[in-house]
Amino acid sequence: MKMTEQFFTALRSLLTNRRRSILTVLGIVIGIASVITIISLGKGVEKATLKNLQASSSGKQSTVVDYYADDLNSTASGFEASDLALINASQASFGLVKADIVSDNDGSAESEASINGADQNVTVKLLKYPSSDLEILSGYNISKNNIMLADPVALISKKLATSFYSSVNQALDTSVTVNGISYQVIGIFKEDMELDDIAISKTVYERSNNGEAGNKLKLTFNRGENVSKQTKKIVSLLNKQGSHHLQGSYEHMDMGAILKGVGSVINGLTYFISAIAGISLFIAGIGVMNMMYISVSERTQEIGIRLAIGASPKSILLQFLLEAVLLTGMGGVLGFGIGCGLAWLISLFLPFRAVVGLESFILAFSVSAIVGIVFGIFPARQAAKKNLIDILK
């Protein structure tokens, strides 16, 4: 019999016994669906982490070196122009594209400010976007336009305003100098939990910083560079010769290592759930085997008839094996679909999207087909070995 005809013959038999086929395949569907769900979510996490940690939209990778002063109250910046010169002197050997000193980019910085003629150490909130968190008591908030145009405007806290001026309103439209740049005070805000004193545009602040002082050094590397190794080299250079190496230490948080850690946790989880799914597939496989044995004994007459009119034992074996493989294969495809849907649904509630790849589909299909072959071969062999004369008696 031609292979395509074998295929249709097997499909027909399965469809004749639709309910039984569906119930048998349920275990496969659940097993495959759970594996696909976890793999898709795992891949989603991996992709999201990679994206977040490396910020490599242009393909370049970057790392950050922090300076921590030994004296916690010191406001001195750990990086100066001399440090840049030191690093840039051997830029090529590090595979560096550029090194930039940046202010603390967690949104706030410690700085000296001059208000109403008096100097004061203040915490500066650096705004990349207009902040809606600040409660404006008087004046205006910093607008999107202000930030886009890099206007030197500032908001100051009510506490700061009242300690330098007799009233809140008197502080409006005065100027405050931060890091050598004079900002116009356009609004007064109520102190929040972060205890910021002044809020200004980050762009303007960085300009004032002029790339010359700060506690963070952003290193941008060429694509393909061993980022964590090179960063380590730079850190040890800084700790020996850096401008403030006597007053503090330069440290690098190795994001590559963290990423690896996160990845291995996800991998572990994937293996764990795959193992559970493997057990469920095994049990489902036994279910398929059981159903095929029942089918073979129920269809003894059919087997006899087929053999009598010219089916070879081999084609009987193939028919029953194909039935098992088709059954599990369809279960695999169905499970893949459900798994994708489930992963998508779950990722709606998570901060990342599930990633489904072709290899997931191939995995689902091949695993289920293999289950079909492994658990279908014994019943199929039994069918092919039936004694024709006994059946036809």
Binding site: M1, K2, T4, E5, F8, T9, R12, S13, T16, Q301, E302, G304, I305, R306, L307, A308, I309, G310, A311, S312, P313, K314, S315, L388, I389, L392, K393
Partner: protein
Amino acid sequence: MIRLERLNKFYQQGDEKIHVLKDVSLQIQQGEFVAIMGPSGSGKSTLINIIGFLDHQFMGQYRFKGESMIDQSLSDYARLRNQNVGFVFQNFKLIANLSVAENVGLPLLYAGHRRKNIADQVNDVLSSVNLQGVGAKLPMQLSGGQQQRVAIARALITRPSFLLADEPTGALDSHTSQEILKLFIDLNHKSRSTIIMVTHDFQVARLSQRIIRILDGRIESDRSVDQ
């Protein structure tokens, strides 16, 4: 066409070895209509199982169209059955969940034809047994006589060398039996089909040309029927 020489067959039943066929020698020519008669247990079923390539375990020689059947493999036997024998059984042996047309076409599929190319052949053979327009029905929707005619159509579709009918009228009433036997006679006369029919009913057997009687594994008599 069929030539059996000193055929012997033993069954193992428990510790006992049963000698079912004893030195059976027999020749059947192309175009003959032969009835094999005998009481149950006489060995006639065993004999036709060997003739019909269902049973390959025997002693002696079986030559089919001059070729020895000893040393043929199991898949050779499957091919021989498919191409040379049309089986008609007492209880029809149609596959219940396949339509009439699918049942009839099945031997062609095993012969390597494609499903979509056999519809005409199936219709032709169905009309040759007077069963037009039932192809889409399931066997259970037909009467016994119709089912047996479906089985005959299935037996005829590969244009086999001979038909092997094992009690073809055993499950049918006398009127339907007559129809089926008339069909056999027509096939034998018009298409020169070779028919080997097993029966225990002399009224059926006497419609053939030659009656072979078997008793206790031996051929008791082998003579032509006087028309």
